[in-house]
């Protein structure tokens, strides 16, 4: 018989008079992994930030172990046993693993002044060992892999005796084997009666690891059910409302395979990453690059975009060689990069300033940037891509992940690209925006643009691609027509080499 460790009831929260949570509720049982789903802006993060003391609720009750609680600051929530594993890790890269785990609550000597270093390292070691991780407590965090950093983050939570752990998109930047390790750990935490709130957009993961699911929409919890009792369609409907359609179905498209290729990659070599890769893409074709994280996918497209030095081979657009980033952009290549926050956008700047950034020359008349034409172009993209925002002058950090990604796309659509490359375009993008992006990419390809897509989500890759290249260890080991791929599992198998 499981008991509720956490009950949140009728939570209201508004920012600047704008309600974000409206009578939202959430319950968490002892030792369960509970998925919290919903589009960006549905209120998941706000609800969890109230739980972890980052925000204060306007109304409603929060009970932990049946007792009413109220957290004025994150450290109060921490003391009550709540910890949040943020999407962006909160570790300090220059400190060691042990120093990070015990940051702020270091074991002290009797005089309460000096830190007991050996004790700290020993205890860090014990915690990491407990879940079977061979991470050296003396290693610097900056030298660890993303997966290992996450383990340290979880160890940090456990060192504070956390009983509720909130994981926000924990697998977003993990490799396949790291995901497995994480799931093993989640299961182990459950046996220790620790409860996990698992925020993710990835359906497959949720069905694999979570016991129950709560779906939110417009600041309300729409559905809470056992994972085994709810279908994916029901879930999507709960998150998107009744007018939604599941768009992640493959649509066969006609591509003229006799046309001359617009992009030709020949014997491409990037030492240490890419080994003798050749392929061609025709106008209107959507080519998917399938491979594991670290297989060289990103390096291939960065080489095409001219932003990564190549050590051999050639890249040609319409037969003309591309030797630099400038060549590539002028020849009509656009790249929606892997990390939109660090590579795609200037977050503090307006939508308009971001859209015109690769296109400054086009918006310049007589030495000056034409703000009016830039605003008009931005308005066009806002309407075309259905970007939810207040207007072209809104700063992009205020927008949700999906809307931000649409702006990165708009930057390159403005140039009417011949070759559009999308590297992990839907990371951190909710299901509604995801299906819109997929539809939009099809539309772009239909208009004659050659599209290259990288995605770790094979469901999406299979939905969108006409053809797939299997990348393994820097080489192309397969070139398959989409209609010959039977299932997602077959693709998972193929990319293992």
């Amino acid at each position: 018989m499981s008991t509720d460790v956490l009950t949140m009831r009728d939570i209201n929260k508004a920012f600047n008079g704008n309600p974000v949570l409206r009578h939202a509720g959430f319950t968490l049982r002892k030792g369960e992994c509970h998925a919290l789903m919903g589009e960006n802006g549905a209120g998941k993060s706000t609800l969890m930030k109230i739980l972890t003391g980052v925000y204060q609720r306007d109304a409603g009750t929060v009970q932990i172990d049946g007792k009413d609680v109220s957290f004025a600051a994150p450290r109060d929530a921490e003391a009550a046993g709540n910890a949040m594993i943020f999407q962006e890790f909160s570790l300090i890269p220059t400190l060691t693993v042990a120093q990070n785990i015990f940051l702020g609550h270091e074991p002290k000597r009797g005089n309460n002044i000096f830190i007991r270093d050996a004790e700290m390292i020993r205890r860090a070691h014990d915690i990491l060992q407990e879940f079977g991780e061979n991470i050296d407590p003396r290693a610097r965090v900056e030298d660890l892999s993303v997966g290992a950093k996450q383990m340290v983050e979880i160890a940090k939570a456990l060192s504070k005796n956390a009983r509720i752990i909130v994981m926000d998109e924990p697998t977003a930047s993990l490799s396949e084997s790291e995901v497995e390790t994480l799931f093993r750990l989640v299961n182990q935490l459950k046996t220790q009666s620790i409860s996990i709130v698992y925020i993710s957009h990835r359906m497959a993961e949720i069905y694999q690891i979570c016991d129950r699911i709560t779906a939110m929409r417009d600041g309300r919890d729409m559905l809470t059910a056992n994972t085994s009792d709810v279908t994916m369609e029901e879930l999507i409907r709960a998150m998107l409302g009744s007018d939604s359609t599941a768009a992640l179905d493959w649509v066969a498209r006609d591509v003229d395979m006799t046309a001359a290729p617009v992009l030709e990659v020949e014997n491409l070599q990037v030492n240490g990453y890419v080994d003798d890769v050749s392929f061609a893409v025709r106008p209107g074709e959507i080519l998917g690059l399938a491979g594991l994280t670290g297989s060289g996918r990103t390096e291939i497209v960065e080489a095409i975009f001219g932003i990564r030095q190549i050590d051999g081979g050639s890249v040609r657009i319409d037969g003309q060689p591309v030797r630099s980033n400038r060549d590539a952009i002028e020849a009509g290549v656009g790249l929606v990069p892997e990390d939109r926050r660090t590579q795609g956008l200037v977050l503090d700047h307006s939508l308009r300033d971001n859209v015109i950034l690769p296109n400054l020359a086009r918006f310049t008349r007589n030495l000056f940037v034409g703000d009016k034409t830039a605003r008009a172009a931005s308005d066009r993209h806002i309407a075309d891509l259905k970007i939810k925002c207040e207007g072209p002058d809104q700063e992009v950090y205020l927008l949700s992940g999906g809307n931000q990604q649409k702006i990165v796309l708009a930057k390159w659509l403005e140039r009417k690209p011949k070759v559009l490359i999308l590297d992990e375009p839907t990371i951190g993008v909710d299901i509604g925006a995801k299906s819109e992006l997929v539809r939009k990419v099809r539309e772009i390809a239909d208009a004659g643009t050659a599209v290259v897509v990288i995605s770790s989500e094979f469901e999406e890759l299979l939905a969108i691609s006409d053809r797939l290249l299997i990348i393994y260890d820097g080489s192309v080991i397969g070139n398959i027509n989409r209609k010959n791929v039977q299932s997602e599992e077959a693709l998972h198998h193929a990319v293992q080499g």
Binding site: G17, T342, Q343, H349, A361, F368
Partner: protein, 325 residues
């Protein structure tokens, strides 16, 4: 929830109010300081036209350096070598005129000093990826050493009618020439930063260098040009100092780098790059000049002036701070 059809006027006006307050702190401060001095020392000569023009004249050099500094700070870098560079340009241009190369020869020689220092700074920062703080800290010392060596700390007096007319302490109409230089540089800087593609590239580079690079912007080139701008701006300021003093000295511009950074940050430019305003900087420089002038008239000694001016800067920046997200 936030759609184009539903612009949420209530929230927008709320935001606007908040943004105005913090982004315009420099204007509010400037108005407040002027008012304060007008009331307290208005009858001691603060409000006379000659004193106000005196403020404008003595502020011109810092204003020019600050405007140039706005570019480098907006691009996400820093230049501490401006003060030393100003003195170098002052000395070299004076020596060139003394040696008979005439006004134009002196002007070009002075500006080339700025170009040279800017190129060295730009090279070490971009090609070798050394933080600009360290590179320009070193250059500040190195160039000041050169300043002291070239004339063994002796001043370089010279007479040149054209130089006096262009950079001298005189007026055009009633307005001090030096101040007109500052205004001209401010207008040029404002137009370039706000309305040209280069200005956008500077702000994008400072806002997010990687994103700028992935948008096809040559961020190294942008930074080198920004260092050239601070170098040349400092050189111009050096010649303005020479013009005001009638002689070139090795110690021109001591502490100018810090005054300029204060003016830039007071004006509302982000110390971390990506947001910059030339008009704010210009008023920031005037604010600092006005405080210094007013405190002198109030009869404070140098130590007291420094304490008050420092406190005002800290408070103004604190009030103008962007609320954390």
């Amino acid at each position: 929830m936030q759609s184009k059809a539903d612009p949420m006027p209530q929230e927008r006006s709320f935001n606007l109010g908040r943004i105005n307050w913090r982004e315009n702190i420099v204007y509010i401060c400037f108005a407040g300081v002027l008012l304060f001095f007008a009331v307290t020392i208005g009858d001691k000569g603060f409000l006379t036209v000659s004193n106000l023009f005196n403020i404008a004249r003595t502020t011109a050099m810092i204003a020019v350096i600050s405007i140039a500094m706005t570019f480098i700070i907006s691009s996400g870098e820093l230049d501490l070598s401006v003060g030393s560079t100003a003195a170098l340009a002052a000395l070299v241009s004076a020596l060139a005129i003394q040696a008979g190369y005439g006004f134009l020869g002196g002007l070009i020689a002075g500006l080339l000093c700025g170009v040279a220092v800017g190129l060295v700074n730009g090279f070490f920062v971009t090609a070798l990826s050394i933080p600009s703080f360290l590179v320009t800290l070193g250059m500040m010392q190195l160039v000041r050493g050169i300043d002291m060596r070239i004339t063994y700390t002796n001043p370089v007096p010279f007479r040149n009618a054209t130089f006096d007319m262009v950079f001298g302490p005189g007026t055009i109409g009633v307005v001090p020439t030096l101040f007109l230089w500052a205004v001209a540089v401010a207008i040029l800087g404002h137009v370039v930063l706000r309305y040209t593609p280069f200005g956008r590239q500077v702000l994008a580079t400072g806002g997010n260098r990687e994103a700028a690079r992935y948008s096809g912007i040559n961020t190294k080139r942008v930074k080198i040009i920004c260092f050239l701008i601070t170098g040349v701006g400092a050189a111009l300021a050096g010649m303005l100092w020479t013009g005001m003093m009638g002689t070139a000295r090795y110690n021109f511009g001591e502490g100018a780098e810090l005054a300029a950074i204060a003016a830039v940050i007071l004006g509302g430019t982000s110390l971390f790059g990506g947001k910059g305003t030339i008009i704010g900087t210009f008023v920031g420089a005037l604010l600092i000049g006005t405080i210094n002038n007013g405190l002198i008239i109030m009869g404070l000694d140098v130590s007291e002036q420094m304490m008050v001016a420092g406190a005002i800067i800290v408070l103004a920046v604190a009030f103008g701070k962007k609320p954390s997200r």
